[in-house]
Every structure is written in structure tokens, then in C-alpha cells.
């Protein structure tokens, strides 16, 4: 590799820490999903609670991101929330691995 190529490569190198932080913010956006007029952010504590719920499956209410109580169907919400969480976290893992691969500094 000659000096010109090295200079070109250095100019194209990105900052891993900045890329990582931008990716994390994007994932925080994507973790949100709409359900029954409410907006939720998928997280393990939330779906663990829903999964463990032993009461009436049709009388379960969760507080959404905007502080409103939203009526949920246990199975429907659990399926949606789990699938959404897995999909987004899987993408985060893959894209983070790619960032690490091209890490320059």
C-alpha cells in the first residue's frame, strides 16, 4: 500500500465510538412500537411482567410511554412485544458486530 492509499484510507476512517453511539440512539427509536392506541418501548422487564400475569388475560392494563393506561390482550401483546424486541436487538447485534469489524481506531 502506498502513501496515497494510506492517506485516503485514513480520511475515510470513521470513529467507532461515535458510530456506536449513533447506532444505539437509532435502536432506542426502533424499540418503540404502537399497540392499541398506545406507544410502548419493548423491554425485557415489561414482557416478563406480562408473561407472568396470572389474572384475567383480558383485563390487563399497562402504562405506555406517554403515561396512559392501555388495555392489552396478554397473548397478543406478548407475541408482538417479544417479536419486536428480538427483531430490533438482533439487528443491533449484527450492525454492532459490523461496526467492530470496520473499526479503525
Amino acid at each position: 500500500m502506498n502513501a496515497e492509499d494510506i492517506v485516503k484510507q485514513i480520511k475515510q476512517a470513521t470513529d467507532y465510538q461515535i458510530n456506536r453511539s449513533i447506532l444505539r440512539e437509532k435502536i432506542q427509536t426502533d424499540l418503540h412500537f404502537a399497540y392499541n392506541g398506545g406507544l410502548f418501548k419493548a423491554d425485557p422487564a415489561q414482557y416478563t411482567f406480562v408473561m407472568m400475569w396470572q389474572g384475567d388475560a383480558d383485563a390487563l392494563f399497562l402504562e405506555d410511554t406517554y403515561g396512559n393506561p392501555i388495555k392489552i390482550n396478554q397473548k397478543e401483546f406478548l407475541d408482538l412485544s417479544t417479536e419486536h424486541y428480538q427483531k430490533v436487538m438482533n439487528r443491533w447485534h449484527q450492525e454492532h458486530a459490523e461496526l467492530k469489524k470496520i473499526r479503525k481506531i
Binding site: 447506532l23 418503540h32 412500537f33 406507544l39
Partner: protein
């Protein structure tokens, strides 16, 4: 003109573009292609009588708007800024649910769709981040936080009408509100007008219930080019290292880049 795509509850995007030394209408034509691709909603352009938009908008609404405002661009040059009249969006929007966007906001994902079905009166970003970290959000050293009027999602309701009416009142009496809220900059900013209206409307309280619960990503630097591949966008700058980011919505402050052929090429690459 009737909105041919009007449904039971109509949804659409509204953009304002008034040319100055910056060709905002041409920028709107390009950014609307991104909106159409990623949100798949009809788009209405609000502009002046001289504009010659090229994009096929759902509607083009022409209004008279006052000039006389100025701002500093990313090169710290003073430029004319026709940003008055944003309060007209409530009356002029042909949609029940509206996403009101600045033309310098690039819609590269569908995250805004999550908000449009929530039946909230309105929501906007309270916070924005950039590759340099979180952006400041105070109207002055001894003032309150502002909101980013770059993206406003609203449903027509009594409360939303009051918000837009208040913005008009603030615009008409801006010097008074600048003194009242210790505002640092005296040129009119919609970010400040909507922030003040939001504070007043919620009982002089910053209500988190109107915040879009994620940060808006803003590029504040001079952009050389943006390059898209299947998953990522690589942004190259004049005076700093490039960044690599996922395909996401981006607020780009550099209007010179948004008028460049490089930006047109970027839009073509994204939209295919």
C-alpha cells in the same frame, strides 16, 4: 381541490417552502421523494405564488408570507429566512392527522408512522443529538428549554388549534415574548414559538406528554456528501471525520449541500 386519497381519517405530510437565496422549493422536491418512499403518505406543499415545484404533490397551497427575518447558516453567513406563518399549518393542512416537516429533514425510515395513529393532540422532539453529542436546547442562559419544530405530528383538535393560535400570537408579539422568556436570539424561531406555546398551553409546565420519545438526529456540520448502501449511510464532512450510521431520519442544517447535485444523487440512490 379535493384530496383524492382522503380516507375516513385522512393522514398526510405538510411541508413549507419559501425561496430566498436558498431554493427551498427544490430542496422540498427532493426531500419529498424520501418522504413518499418511506412514509407512503400524500404530501402537501405550502409555498408562495412564484414557486414552481417539480414534485407531484397531493396539493400545492399558495399563500403570502412575510419576509424580513434573517439567520446564520452553517458557515456563519447571514441569510434571509422566510419562516413566518408556520401557524397556518393547522388551517391549511388537508389532513386530519398531519406530519408537519421542515424541508431539511430527510425521512429515511418509517418511525414517524408510529406516532400518527396515537390520537395525540400533537408531539414534537424535545431533544436532538448529533455526532458531537446532544444539542443544546435552551432559549437562553436564563430561559426555558425549546422544542424542535422540525417535526410536528398533530391531529386536529381543540387543544391543537389553541397551540397553533398561540404560535400566531407569539409571532405577532415576538419582542414581548423574547423579554418575558429571556430569549437570547431576537430573530423569530418556530422552535421557540412552539416551545412557549406548549409551555403556556400546559399550565406553564413542560409536559413530557408532547415529546416524541426518541431523539432527532441532526447533522450540524458542513456536508461534502452522503453515501447510502443497503443498510448504512456514510456521511463525509468538510472539516471532520466521516460517520457511519444506520438508515435513519436526519435533520441536515447545511442548505448548500441540500441544493447540490450530490444530494440529488443521494436521493436517487435511496429511492432507486
Amino acid at each position: 381541490m379535493q384530496n383524492s386519497r382522503k380516507s375516513e381519517k385522512s393522514k398526510g405530510v405538510v411541508v413549507f417552502a419559501f425561496n430566498t437565496s436558498v431554493d427551498y422549493v427544490a430542496i422540498a422536491d427532493n426531500t419529498s421523494k424520501l418522504i413518499e418512499r418511506n412514509l407512503k403518505l400524500p404530501i402537501t406543499l405550502i409555498t408562495d405564488h412564484d414557486a414552481e415545484p417539480q414534485f407531484e404533490y397531493d396539493q400545492v397551497i399558495r399563500v403570502d408570507v412575510a419576509s424580513g427575518n434573517i439567520k446564520l447558516d452553517v458557515s456563519y453567513q447571514q441569510v434571509e429566512w422566510k419562516n413566518f406563518g408556520r401557524y397556518l399549518a393547522y388551517e391549511l393542512s388537508p389532513y386530519d392527522s398531519t406530519v408537519l416537516l421542515d424541508v431539511d429533514y430527510l425521512v429515511l425510515d418509517d418511525s414517524l408512522l408510529k406516532l400518527i395513529d396515537l390520537n395525540k393532540d400533537y408531539a414534537f422532539h424535545y431533544y436532538s443529538s448529533s455526532s458531537n453529542g446532544d444539542l443544546y436546547s435552551s432559549m437562553g442562559p436564563y430561559s426555558l428549554p425549546f422544542i424542535w419544530a422540525t417535526v410536528i405530528v398533530f391531529n386536529k383538535s381543540d387543544k391543537t388549534k389553541m397551540l397553533f393560535d398561540l404560535v400566531k400570537r407569539i409571532q405577532d408579539n415576538y419582542d414581548y415574548y423574547c423579554k418575558l422568556y429571556n430569549i437570547r436570539e431576537r430573530n423569530f424561531r418556530n422552535d421557540y414559538a412552539f416551545a412557549i406555546a406548549n409551555i403556556i398551553l400546559n399550565g406553564y409546565h413542560i409536559d413530557p406528554g408532547h415529546n416524541i420519545p426518541w431523539k432527532m438526529f441532526t447533522i450540524t456540520d458542513k456536508v461534502d456528501r452522503l453515501i447510502v448502501d443497503s443498510k448504512n449511510i456514510r456521511a463525509y464532512f468538510t472539516n471532520k471525520k466521516p460517520i457511519l450510521m444506520p438508515q435513519q431520519n436526519i435533520h441536515v442544517m447545511d442548505k448548500a449541500y441540500l441544493q447540490s447535485t450530490q444530494f440529488k444523487d443521494f436521493v436517487t440512490d435511496v429511492t432507486g
